[in-house]
């Protein structure tokens, strides 16, 4: 049992959401610069969940997507998962390479998408690390073309070996003309969550 889960105050919840929001805004801004298009981001949804309940929050287990994954390492452990509908991933490649017919399995496009994962996750993790004054790095990205459920499944399994709960931060973004959308999920394990809360409490001086 993790005591913090039962005792997460409304204020701590709000602070966690805000931290996620800052990171996501920065990450998506970097994507928007790269694509030279404005991007709308919605406010992240925050859920503290038993690991086996996470798929219900993400929905569309069978939807086929391009998933880009990065593992966070350092003071906080977790994953950043970016899910792009196939058409959106193709549009991103089209905008950047100027190619008409995009084959996502082709080497150039897949390394392009990995680079996007690197930039998005890198910006997110860096702003998080700066804000919380923690040390964080990211792994090299993985891209997987498969069902949403299957992509999340292994991450959740890996996490469930250590912990029972995960903090899920789910943000959707849409490029203004609606041609690209996607979602970014951040998953922390419960140990990292404890550290996050400790930092929030230290910063606000509210040692709850």
């Amino acid at each position: 049992m993790t005591k913090d889960i039962d005792h997460l105050t409304e204020f701590q919840y709000g602070a966690l959401e805000e931290i996620g929001n800052i990171g996501m805004e920065n990450a998506v801004t970097s994507l928007s610069k790269m694509l030279n298009h404005d991007i709308k981001v919605n406010i992240p949804k925050l859920n503290l969940e038993k690991i086996e309940n996470v798929p219900q929050h993400v929905g569309g287990a069978e939807t086929i997507v391009l998933g880009l994954l990065v593992r966070m390492e350092g003071d906080l452990q977790g994953y950043v998962v970016m899910l792009f509908p196939i058409d959106s991933a193709k549009t991103i490649c089209q905008i950047i390479t100027g190619e008409e017919d995009v084959d996502l399995t082709d080497d150039m496009n897949s390394s392009l998408m990995n680079e996007i994962a690197n930039i998005l996750a890198g910006t997110y993790v860096r702003s998080l690390a700066d804000f919380l004054k923690v040390s964080l790095t990211i792994s090299t990205p993985y891209s997987i073309h498969d069902m949403t459920g299957a992509i999340l499944d292994q991450i959740l399994v890996e996490m469930s070996q250590q912990v029972e709960h995960s903090l899920l931060l789910d943000t959707e973004f849409i490029v203004e003309d609606n041609r690209i959308n996607g979602s970014i999920l951040t998953l922390y394990d419960t140990q990292s969550l404890e550290l996050l809360i400790q930092r929030i409490d230290e910063m606000t001086g509210s040692g709850v």
Binding site: N53, T148, A150
Partner: protein
């Protein structure tokens, strides 16, 4: 879809025809389908980990191969199924990615091994499988005939 019972992650369910059981988007988890053809009782469990022994929380039996299978068998017996008539089919246990270079067996493989050894221990014959590799699967077990339909995103669909 109304005939379809969805089995979530670390969840299990049993049914009889005309209903079907399904679990969506298996990655390194394993979907275990048991069927007693004599009374047409079907059961499915979606396990995440090989063994409850290392687990911190031991509340959910359906989460582990070593407890999920006996748990499912018990539920099927309540519907009139008999263990010695049961047959097993399994799918999943993929390795979607690997960040962990130093572990020699990935979690998908460990789930496959644990599942098979539990089936042997319980004397339930494994009559078909579609496991491993690096892609996700959705499975549907038909309560009418025990056929297991395996769908994947890019590798087509098969019946086992």
């Amino acid at each position: 879809m109304s005939n379809m019972i969805i089995v979530g992650m670390a969840d299990c369910a049993v049914t009889v025809p005309p209903k079907k059981l399904t679990t969506l988007g298996l990655g390194s988890c394993i979907g275990i389908a048991l069927y007693d053809p004599h009374v047409k009782v079907a059961g499915m469990v979606h396990i995440m980990l090989p063994s409850i022994k290392q687990a911190r929380s031991q509340e959910n039996l359906a989460k582990f191969a070593d407890t999920g299978i006996p748990h499912l068998v018990g539920q099927m017996e309540e519907l009139g199924a008999v263990k010695r008539r049961m047959e097993a089919k399994i799918a999943g246990g993929a390795s979607m990615f690997s960040f962990n270079k130093n572990s020699n067996l990935n979690i998908g493989e460990r789930n496959i091994i644990a599942t098979k050894s539990m089936l042997v221990e319980m004397n339930i014959p494994l009559i078909a499988e579609d496991v491993g590799k690096n892609y996700g699967r959705t499975i549907v077990l038909d309560g009418e005939n025990g056929v297991l339909f395996v769908k994947s995103a890019l590798k087509g669909n098969i019946e086992i």
